[in-house]
């Protein structure tokens, strides 16, 4: 694909509306109600009647899937929303369990381009169940299959796998936890200015980060995104139709869904496995869009775990190999810096919505709607989400069709 030239759908698709439900660690409202609320706000933003939505797409997977999970309560699937919103004209849907919300967005782009539907709703609803997640614990006394080679060494699940990959980077390139602090503090600084963020008005200092409890070295509490109750929603249509709805549609210059573990490493994989995958994602993204890293005015890169930022910055070509931990210093990623990064606060600051805030912020920055965290003269933004070896998508947005 990398060598194939720009994509036919380039410039043909646009976002016309975005919306968040109230976002909180624990909401007083049920998740179904939050989802309806987010869709109402996105539709209103798009000057679109809800009944005109004829396509719907989501990434459904709960933070932790349990038997008996109920649609509209523990998660919000397409079935619940189609029924509850009364979308009688529904013509297309997709419900995904890989590559999170940005992949769902990519499917919506495909569907609208192919004429499956005129107005596609993309949403992500996340419920934060009471009690602690068990995903990072050992809950069985027997390690079978692949786990037999990991569990006895303390590698239980995602968090420990992430810590391993991150520590590999630190060892190889001499990065320190202080280096990461620059990114974390910047994120929270941005989130503090974002009324839709779970950490709105709650900035932190480098000391706060350095004193944050270590969960699995080098991963501290503040290296992990905050589980929330909340919903994000976007409306996609054709560039042609978009003009009938809003003054400032945001165009899609390129999109990619990839992310494979070619080396079949267990867990999150080695640094190298991840970088192979990110390299392929970057190659496809730049060639399909005809754009390059230096064109990007603001990047919303996925930070479900903090260290993923280093992968994106290096693998997508914003800096050289092993340089990301230095790149993020000296205000370069601040709102008035060379590459404003995660102005929404990212997942670490805005909350765990698996790519929704990444997309919405990239759209709203182009529309100039970000208040105190607005970047000047934004023409090109990048949003991505996912894990490099577990499915990952990226989208480039522009203020007008790309030449």
């Amino acid at each position: 694909m990398g060598m194939r030239g720009t994509q036919v759908s380039r410039n043909q698709l646009a976002v016309i509306g975005t919306g968040y439900s109230p976002i909180a660690r624990r909401s007083q409202l049920g998740l179904g109600a939050l989802a309806v609320n987010a869709v109402q706000r996105a539709a209103e933003d798009a000057n679109l009647k809800i009944e005109d939505i004829d396509g719907i797409c989501t990434y459904t997977r709960p933070a932790e899937a349990m038997p008996g999970f109920t649609d509209g309560v523990d998660f919000v699937g397409v079935d619940f929303l189609v029924r509850t919103l009364g979308l009688a004209g529904i013509r297309w849907y997709a419900s995904l369990d890989r590559a999170v919300t940005v992949a769902a967005f990519v499917h919506a782009l495909h569907a609208v381009y192919a004429g499956e539907c005129d107005y596609a709703l993309v949403y992500r609803a996340m419920h934060n169940p009471t009690g602690a997640l068990t995903a990072n614990r050992f809950t069985v006394d027997f390690a079978d299959h692949g786990r037999q080679f990991q569990a006895p060494y303390g590698l239980g699940a995602q968090l420990m796998g992430a810590a391993l990959t991150y520590s590999e980077y630190m060892g190889r390139y001499g990065a320190s936890r202080e280096d990461m602090g620059a990114f974390i503090v910047n994120n929270r600084h941005n989130a503090a200015m974002n009324p839709d963020a779970v950490f709105y008005q709650k900035p932190i200092t480098l000391d706060d980060y350095m004193n944050s409890r270590i969960l699995s070295w080098p991963m501290a509490l503040l290296d992990c995104d905050m589980p929330v109750d909340g919903v994000s929603a976007l409306i996609v249509t054709t560039a042609e139709r978009a003009k009938n709805h809003v003054k400032n549609p945001v165009y899609v210059a390129g999109h990619v869904t990839l992310g494979f573990d070619y080396l079949h490493a267990q867990g999150f994989g080695s640094w190298e496995t991840n970088m192979t995958s990110v390299g392929l994602i970057g190659r496809a993204l730049w060639s399909r869009s005809g754009l390059k890293p230096s064109d990007v005015d603001m990047a919303s890169l996925y930070d479900g775990f903090s260290y993923l930022m280093y992968m994106w910055l290096e693998g997508l070509g914003f800096c050289g190999e092993g340089e990301a931990h230095e790149f993020i210093r000296d205000g370069r990623i601040a709102i008035d810096g060379e590459l404003p990064l995660n102005t929404s606060g990212g997942s670490l600051g805005a909350g765990r919505l698996h790519g929704g805030p990444q997309l919405i912020e990239a759209v709203r920055q182009i529309q100039g709607r970000c208040g105190p965290r607005q970047v000047k003269d934004v023409k090109v933004t990048l949003a991505n989400a996912g894990a490099p070896t577990g499915g990952c998508s990226a989208v480039l947005f522009t203020n007008e069709p790309v030449a």
Partner: protein, 396 residues
């Protein structure tokens, strides 16, 4: 762009792995087998494949399941084949096989991919974990049904509703199931290949949940199926005549929100799907040469026949009589044996049989001159899809 019609894609290669109640090989190996042979069937090389789509969910999701052992999807296939130039992948969790086909079409039609493999692999676990009460409390979704003895969704309810409302008899279904098993007996890819089966076998079989007996429910298997999808334009130059996708839809919502299946909510959803498929092609029921209808539960056949307008409401149980749906009948149905004869492959068997019929490759079960095939997949309220396949491109 937009509203392009559905004439843009075609299925150009299909294959099954070995299929059995017990696995002939590991899940990953069976998935590789199906993908590799589907690509070869299309006359392509694995290097030509630049997209993978799958519905990979195991029959029963359980903690600790591992890709390659308990299930196999698009990412595993890409990794095992070592394909570095893949342009896209997807994994859907609703809508079974056709949902993955429809998403693959989107990737082809946007120019993201040239050739996409769509995969369904299913492992039949050695334990039998299905549809049992395992907890002392029920989830919210089953709070109004489980205390009355209805585990899961209540699969038998719509059928008993149908029976009492329209006076359908179990003899009618016995002849349908026997017909399907005769088709399966002639299909080397079927689980029940060369197995003899008579209507008496059906009528004397143990009830699982009245009125569903063991032969009304598809058999879980370990196996995989795959197809190759490309643009109509590229399809012309390949090994076999293409099966063009003249219309498609992936829908299937429970508008009633009852949770428990009812005949009316399923019909409402099935009609919505049917209307979308017919509207997409300009073709009507009369033009269809063969139907490959999803029959994980036997009575779904009645539902599809009525919803898609092959007969009136309440008449399907009579419509299927007199050999009308046999291979030589007016509307040959599930010539492969369907899910009941082939095993539970979540719709892959329906799609593949539709393609093979149009390619005139079905040997003893071939429908003469088949040029239009309707395929349905899924349970209407839980995510279902329809494909209308034609041997010539429709609508330019």
């Amino acid at each position: 762009m937009g509203a392009k019609g559905a004439d843009g894609c075609a299925i150009v290669g299909t294959a099954y792995s070995r299929i059995g109640r017990q696995p002939a090989a590991g899940m990953a190996a069976l998935a590789v087998e199906a993908c590799r042979e589907a690509v070869a069937d299309a006359g392509l090389r694995m290097d030509d494949i630049d997209g993978f789509a799958a519905f990979h969910r195991p029959s029963e999701s359980m903690p600790g399941q591992i890709e390659g052992i308990d299930f196999a999807g698009a990412q595993l296939a890409v990794r095992l084949f070592g394909l570095r130039d893949v342009a896209w992948f997807c994994s859907v969790d609703r809508g079974l096989f056709v949902a993955a086909v429809v998403e693959a079409m989107g990737a082809i039609r946007t120019g993201t991919c040239k050739y996409v493999v769509v995969l369904r692999a299913l492992n039949n676990p050695t334990s039998n974990p299905w549809a049992r009460f395992v907890d002392e409390t029920t989830p919210i979704s089953a709070a109004h049904s489980a205390p009355y003895g209805l585990p899961a969704l209540g699969a038998p309810l719509p059928y008993s509703q149908y029976i009492s409302r329209y006076g359908a008899e179990r003899h009618a279904m016995a002849s349908v199931v026997a017909e399907l098993r005769r088709n399966a007996a002639a299909n080397p890819n079927a689980l029940f290949y060369q197995h003899s089966f008579r209507e008496d076998d059906y009528l004397s079989a143990p009830m699982i949940m009245d009125p569903l007996c063991v032969h009304d429910i598809d058999s879980p298997v370990s196996g995989a199926a795959a197809l190759v999808l490309t643009s109509a334009e590229r399809a012309r130059d390949l090994q076999w005549p293409p099966a063009y996708v003249a219309a498609h839809a992936s829908l299937g919502f429970d508008f009633s929100g009852r949770g428990v299946l009812t005949w009316d909510s399923m019909m409402e959803s099935a009609r919505h799907l049917a209307a979308t498929v017919w509207k997409g092609s300009g073709i009507g029921p009369n033009a269809v040469d063969t139907v490959q209808l999803y029959d994980s539960y036997s009575y779904l056949l009645y539902m599809w026949l009525e919803a898609f307008g092959f007969c009136d409401a309440g008449e399907a149980h009579r419509f299927v009589g007199d050999g009308r749906t046999s291979v030589n009948g007016a509307l040959p149905m599930n010539t492969s044996g369907g899910s009941l004869g082939m095993g539970r492959l979540h719709g892959a068997a329906q799609v593949i049989e539709g393609v093979l019929q149009l390619q005139n490759r079905c040997d003893l079960r071939q429908v003469k001159g088949a040029s239009v095939a309707l395929v349905t997949v899924g349970v209407p309220t839980l995510g279902a899809g329809g494909l209308l396949l034609t041997s010539e491109p429709v609508g330019g």
